[in-house]
């Protein structure tokens, strides 16, 4: 472990000086993203109840349908249960990130200072999360476009259109990338906030 510097390392000082004028704007961006994604996440969480209702109806309707000799369930209903499930996790992922709900292996982090954790999170966001989101958006674009082009349907009788649900793939990762930007701003804030500088002592030997 490197000896603790008496004052913040030059990089941090430079960054702080350069970023301070921008800070209110960055902070506003982060707040706006958070509000946006939490609104979407809260709305999507009500879909959980809709999904369970549809799922139960599919069971009950099938048995009731046999009794009254009339088909009460359909492939459209069966597929809508699935699509609701897709909407729930695809639209909820960004809000889950905001609420720190994505599980992590925190044995090492437990021993780190808040600043070290902020640095690890910042690096993770910049080098893992955002590139992953960009990759997913990039590779799914063509598939989504060609699905729209032919207005792709379900291959099963009476099923639902597929192009809207396929569109949710790039959309979900775009929301996640946005949330990543907000998280990066929050971690940067914690990193650059004035205070005891021991946190910047080369975390985990890098």
């Amino acid at each position: 472990m490197a000896p603790r510097p008496a004052q913040p390392p030059p990089v941090q000082r430079l960054l702080r000086r350069w970023l301070r004028p921008q800070w209110p704007r960055l902070w506003a961006v982060s707040r706006r993203i958070d509000r946006f994604n939490s609104a979407i996440g809260r709305a999507a969480s009500w879909l959980v109840l809709v999904m369970l209702a549809v799922g139960s109806w599919n069971v009950v309707g099938r048995h009731l349908g046999v009794l009254i000799g009339h088909n009460l369930s359909s492939n459209a209903l069966i597929e809508s249960q699935l699509y609701l499930f897709d909407l729930i996790f695809l639209l909820g992922a960004a809000w889950t990130l905001q609420r720190n709900g994505h599980v992590r292996v925190d044995v090492l982090q437990a021993r780190w200072t808040p600043r070290q954790r902020a640095l690890a999170d910042l690096l993770g966001t910049v080098f893992f999360l955002i590139p992953f989101c960009l990759l997913m958006i990039g590779v799914s674009w063509g598939t989504v476009a060609s699905s729209w082009h032919i207005l792709e349907q379900s291959p099963d009788p009476g099923g639902l259109p597929r192009y809207p649900i396929k569109t949710m793939i790039p959309l979900s990762f775009a929301l996640l990338a946005l949330q990543g930007i907000s998280e990066a701003i929050k971690r940067l804030d914690r990193l650059l906030a004035p205070g005891p500088s021991d946190a910047m002592a080369t975390p985990d030997g890098r």
């Binding site: 046999v66 088909n71 492939n75 597929e79 349907q153 379900s154 291959p155 099963d156 597929r162």
Partner: protein
């Protein structure tokens, strides 16, 4: 190391490039007859090219899910695939003809249509929209008509029946009043066994026995009128195809021809053996009544007429197919007395 080993003729033949492809398939490895068709294409190509043209087949889900093979070939993530065109009727309803349609062609007729009756050209035109070329590369032969928990004698018995049956066959069954269910392959057995559904179809005796369907239901109906002779296709990404040396193209299409014949032969041989075993094990072989068959046929051709009205590709293919089918049926009828005599006078 050893550069002195003897080499196959093709390899010493200088300038042919070393090419490695991936083949995504729609089949689990456990279905060895149908996955075997894909493996055979790869193996033949490797053999013919002295190992220089190397294709590796992947089971469903290894690279992409089984029902996404066309998408993978279209986007270029794999160079080729092995799949059934009717999985993609959601993209273009006319894909149904490329595989099999209810009351359509049996394996021999299907091959006649594809290779000599303009079928391949028509199918190629459909796949061209998806940047792919298609080669018949397997056929399962006439499939069975599904496993039923109880006997069905008339169309009235189909009302409200819960059956797992996908594709156009499912549409026809739905038109006859069946409650058509979508179930993943892994859930078919349990659903049928516990009675969550009353009937389920898979393929034929050999594959059905693997799924254990004979332990879940007693009545095994035939014929499988919704799939009289389904073709499976090898798909190749158009750009990758164009970049192949001519001799590799020839090797690939020859290998597909071979797989098309051999898969059918394997299914026919294995289904015969398996059916005998199933019957010995208590399975009851049942025939769809003429009444049900007529109702299903009428519903099928009504469905084709409706689809043709709504879709230009479907109309074009249906009309070409129907014309060929009429002539072929007329010809096959002249041979039918022998077939009938053979089946009726069978001595065991």
């Amino acid at each position: 190391a050893g550069g002195q080993r003897s080499r196959p003729a093709v390899e010493s033949d200088s300038d042919l490039p070393q090419i490695r492809w991936r083949m995504a398939t729609s089949w689990p490895v456990s279905l060895d007859t149908i996955f075997g068709g894909a493996a055979m294409v790869c193996e033949r190509v490797r053999l013919l090219s002295g190992g220089r043209f190397d294709i590796r087949p992947y089971a469903a889900g290894e690279l992409v899910p089984g029902l996404e093979v066309l998408d993978a070939v279209q986007s270029g993530s794999v160079q080729c695939g092995h799949t059934a065109a009717y999985y993609y009727v959601g993209k273009n309803p006319a894909f149904a003809f490329a595989t099999s349609v209810p009351f359509g062609l049996d394996a021999q007729q299907q091959n006649a249509w594809l290779y000599e009756g303009g079928g391949n050209a028509a199918v190629d035109r459909l796949f061209a929209d998806f940047g792919a070329r298609a080669f018949p590369a397997g056929n399962t032969g006439t499939q069975m008509g599904g496993w039923f928990k109880r006997q069905i004698d008339s169309p009235a018995d189909l009302q409200g029946l819960k059956m797992r049956i996908p594709g156009l066959g499912g549409k026809v069954m739905a038109a006859l009043g069946v409650n058509v269910q979508v179930l993943p392959g892994g859930e078919i057995f349990l659903a049928l066994e516990r009675g969550a559904i009353d009937a389920a179809e898979w393929t034929g005796p050999y594959d059905d026995e693997k799924l254990g369907l004979n332990r879940a239901a007693d009545f095994y109906y035939h014929p499988g009128w919704w799939e009289p002779g389904p073709t499976v296709h090898a798909l190749v990404n158009e750009e990758q195809w164009a970049a192949l040396p001519k001799i590799y193209q020839d090797m690939f299409s020859s290998a597909c021809h071979q797989a098309n014949l051999r898969m059918l032969c394997r299914y026919e041989a294995l289904n015969g053996t398996t059916l005998t075993r199933l019957l010995a094990g208590g399975t009851q072989l049942m025939t769809y009544s003429d009444e049900i068959l007529q109702a299903a046929r009428d519903a099928s051709f009504q469905l084709y007429a409706d689809s043709a009205r709504g879709d230009a590709d479907f109309r074009r293919l249906f009309e070409q197919w129907r014309g060929f089918r009429a002539e072929l049926m007329a010809w096959n009828r002249t041979v039918y007395p022998l077939t009938r005599f053979l089946h009726q006078s069978e001595v065991s």
